[in-house]
């Protein structure tokens, strides 16, 4: 039922320019519900971190509301999409919107890459320079930093060529399977599409499992924790936020898989699929940077 209504509007920039009406959704309760969810989450997190009893409860309530909101909101979007509300110009908006959203994510990661750069190039060498012998006569500022001016030694850095290299291969492969799925979608080959998407989801899950295993190894065998100075904090913060993004990306792809299985999307009309793919590739690229700057160099 999706193929026909786009026919009269066409697709792409020309069609968008010709389209004179734009779909404006009717009033919706989901934004308010979403705001409520974030309120409970924020309040709950602050309370929980300070040992106030209602903190975890508030967090749980917030999370539940958030899930409800996501299901409801995206449900509306899917319904509107199937009803043909989104034509060329709406599609274009979604593309711009997703692009700028990914840009904001890039900047979020940039803050942490900035921090990594700063400790490696500025603060750690400075703490080891001649002037600072006054404070830290014995500090050796080599990277990866396995001691710190004020911390007891007793942890080791993570190597690059074991699990991390394997994980790199997994993520790169998942990017390929996803593109393969996209080609299948464009060619109208649904079962190949499902297979490619499914493989991507499974590779995402595999990545996460391996990363969990890697964390265990780092904590128990290498003694490396969040509190292990400049190395430990950047390692966990950056791979952790990345892992969170992989998790979210995997969930999104899984939802897309379900939608494909249900019969959504066709060769011209599949922004939801593409948005998920863009996101996945973005997460991939972040990983490559992590692999180079956190694990390897």
């Amino acid at each position: 039922m999706q193929s026909h209504e786009v026919a009269d509007n066409g697709h792409g920039a020309d069609a968008a320019a010709r389209q004179t009406r734009y779909y404006v959704p009717s009033p919706s309760r989901w934004p308010l519900v979403g705001a409520l969810a974030l309120f409970f989450l924020g309040l709950g997190a602050a309370f929980a971190l300070n040992g106030v009893l209602i903190g975890p409860w508030s967090l749980a309530i917030g999370a539940a509301i958030l899930v409800w909101m996501l299901i409801g909101w995206f449900g509306d979007v899917v319904r509107e999409s199937r009803a043909g509300a989104y034509r060329a110009r709406e599609d274009m908006s979604f593309r711009w919107g997703m692009g700028w959203f990914i840009f904001s994510e890039v900047m979020f990661f940039a803050a942490f890459f900035g921090a990594l750069y700063y400790v490696r190039v500025i603060s750690v060498p400075e703490l080891g320079d001649a002037a600072h012998k006054l404070l830290y006569p014995d500090f050796n500022p080599a990277w990866p930093l396995v001691t710190a001016p004020g911390l007891p030694a007793g942890y080791q850095a993570m190597g690059a060529w074991g699990l991390p290299a394997l994980n790199t291969a997994i993520l790169l492969t998942s990017g390929a399977t996803l593109t393969w799925a996209h080609w299948a979608l464009l060619a109208g080959r649904r079962s190949r599409l499902l297979a490619g998407l499914g493989a991507t989801v499974l590779l995402g899950v595999l990545f996460l499992l391996l990363q969990a295993y890697e964390y265990r190894h780092a904590m128990h065998e290498l003694g490396l924790t969040f509190a292990s100075g400049a190395y430990g904090m950047t390692f966990y913060m950056m791979t952790g936020f990345h892992g969170l993004h992989v998790l979210v990306g995997t969930l999104i792809l899984a939802v897309i898989w379900l939608r494909v299985a249900r019969g959504d999307f066709d060769a011209r009309h599949h922004f939801g699929f593409e948005a998920a793919a863009w996101y996945w590739h973005f997460v991939d690229v972040v990983w490559l940077l992590l692999f180079v700057f956190v694990y390897w160099l």
């Binding site: 400075e126 703490l127 002037a131 600072h132 006054l134 404070l135 001016p149 004020g150």
Partner: protein
């Protein structure tokens, strides 16, 4: 309610207040401060000229080109020539500003070639001065009484300290700045010096005062509750007087130095401990030992102050692991000071321990963790 009227009268009529309603930077007494002063004057004149020129034109238009004066609008909206001019001319003005500014920046950074070096450490909320060449070190605290009224202890309100930094005139003093807890900033306007003291890092600054006198400044970086109460006082003395001060200071410190082997009796330990408490602890735990609810715990009847002494020694010596505000005092206070302040805390405000913590106990506790 404070006595509003007398306070106001004092504030408005007191001669120093009126005289000091100054409109410009403080009178400089170092070459850098003088350079900064002159540079600021130059910038001020340039900016005033820009204001006069731009608003001269604007007000001319406002007066002449108004509808009520019957002026008809002309519809031009572009003119490449003027646009190029008003891009290039400001650029040239800026170059004119940047040129002398660069010189002064480089001078400010010229910290070497010093005659003496003082290490300055910012604490919440006091300064420590450590004469690295002479082995003299002391803390400098605000000495204005802190009861919310305008009493002073003999200097300008809020700008007086118990132990000023004393330096000789005409000598290049290099400062090595660091901090113990949060960022502070050592600022003496007359010297043209403001340098942040960053915990865990060392920063440099320098000054060479031309004129003997007493120069005052304040901590310039928000550093918590008593940020407004950590003044800086520098006494610049003639060479000979400085030498005399230094000798006297050394003697005084030697005399004050506690014999670490001394065994203290309860009442004298409490008396000494109270002094230490007033200097270091009142800011947070308050005069009455009740703290600030929610922020700083009460020591009167507190779990640790009335519990086993080992935990008490631990938190004072090593600080709190939960809250960085409670510092590791072992780094700043001597064994005697820590022993007596703990004794005081365990025997004040209704706490009745009755036992005396001795310096050797602290020494043992330090040894245990080294």
């Amino acid at each position: 309610m404070p006595p509003v009227l007398p306070v106001l009268l004092l504030a408005v009529l007191a001669p120093p207040a009126v005289l000091a309603n100054q409109l410009n930077l403080q009178t400089p007494v170092t070459s850098v401060a003088r350079d900064v002063y002159d540079l600021h004057t130059l910038l001020l004149y340039i900016t005033i000229a820009i204001v006069v020129a731009v608003f001269g034109v604007m007000f001319y238009a406002i007066v002449r080109h108004r509808k009520s004066a019957g002026h008809q609008a002309k519809q031009f909206h572009e003119n490449t020539t003027v646009e190029v001019i008003w891009t290039v001319v400001p650029l040239l003005i800026l170059v004119g500003m940047a040129w002398p500014a660069t010189r002064v920046v480089l001078a400010q950074k010229q910290t070497r070639g010093e005659d003496m070096t003082v290490k300055v450490t910012g604490y919440q909320w006091k300064w420590q001065y450590d004469y690295l060449d002479d082995g003299v070190a002391f803390m400098s605290h605000l000495s204005t009484p802190r009861d919310g009224t305008l009493k002073t202890a003999g200097g300008p309100y809020l700008l007086e300290v118990d132990e000023p930094l004393v330096v000789p005139v005409g000598q290049k003093v290099r400062l090595l700045l660091t901090a113990n807890d949060v960022i502070h900033s050592w600022w003496v306007p007359a010297f043209g010096v403001k340098q942040d003291a960053i915990p865990g890092f060392v920063r440099e600054a320098w000054f060479k005062a031309d004129k003997p006198g007493t120069y005052r400044g304040q901590c310039a970086e928000l550093c918590g509750k008593d940020h407004g109460y950590m003044p800086i006082v520098v006494e610049v003395k003639p060479e000979a007087e400085y030498a005399r001060w230094l000798t006297a200071k050394k003697a005084q410190l030697a005399a004050q130095a506690d014999d670490p082997a001394k065994v203290w009796k309860l009442d004298e330990a409490v008396r000494r401990g109270e002094e230490v408490y007033r200097k270091n602890c009142v800011a947070c735990h308050m005069e009455d030992g009740k703290g600030v609810p929610g922020t700083f715990p009460a020591l009167a009847g507190g779990a640790i102050t009335t519990g086993p002494v080992a935990a008490h020694i631990d938190i004072v010596l090593n600080g709190s692991r939960k809250n960085a505000a409670m510092a590791a005092w072992g780094k700043q206070l001597s064994d005697t000071e820590i022993a007596t302040v703990i004794t005081y805390e365990r025997n004040a405000w209704g706490n009745r321990d009755g036992k005396v913590v001795q310096p050797k106990d602290i020494k043992a506790a330090r040894g245990g963790q080294a």
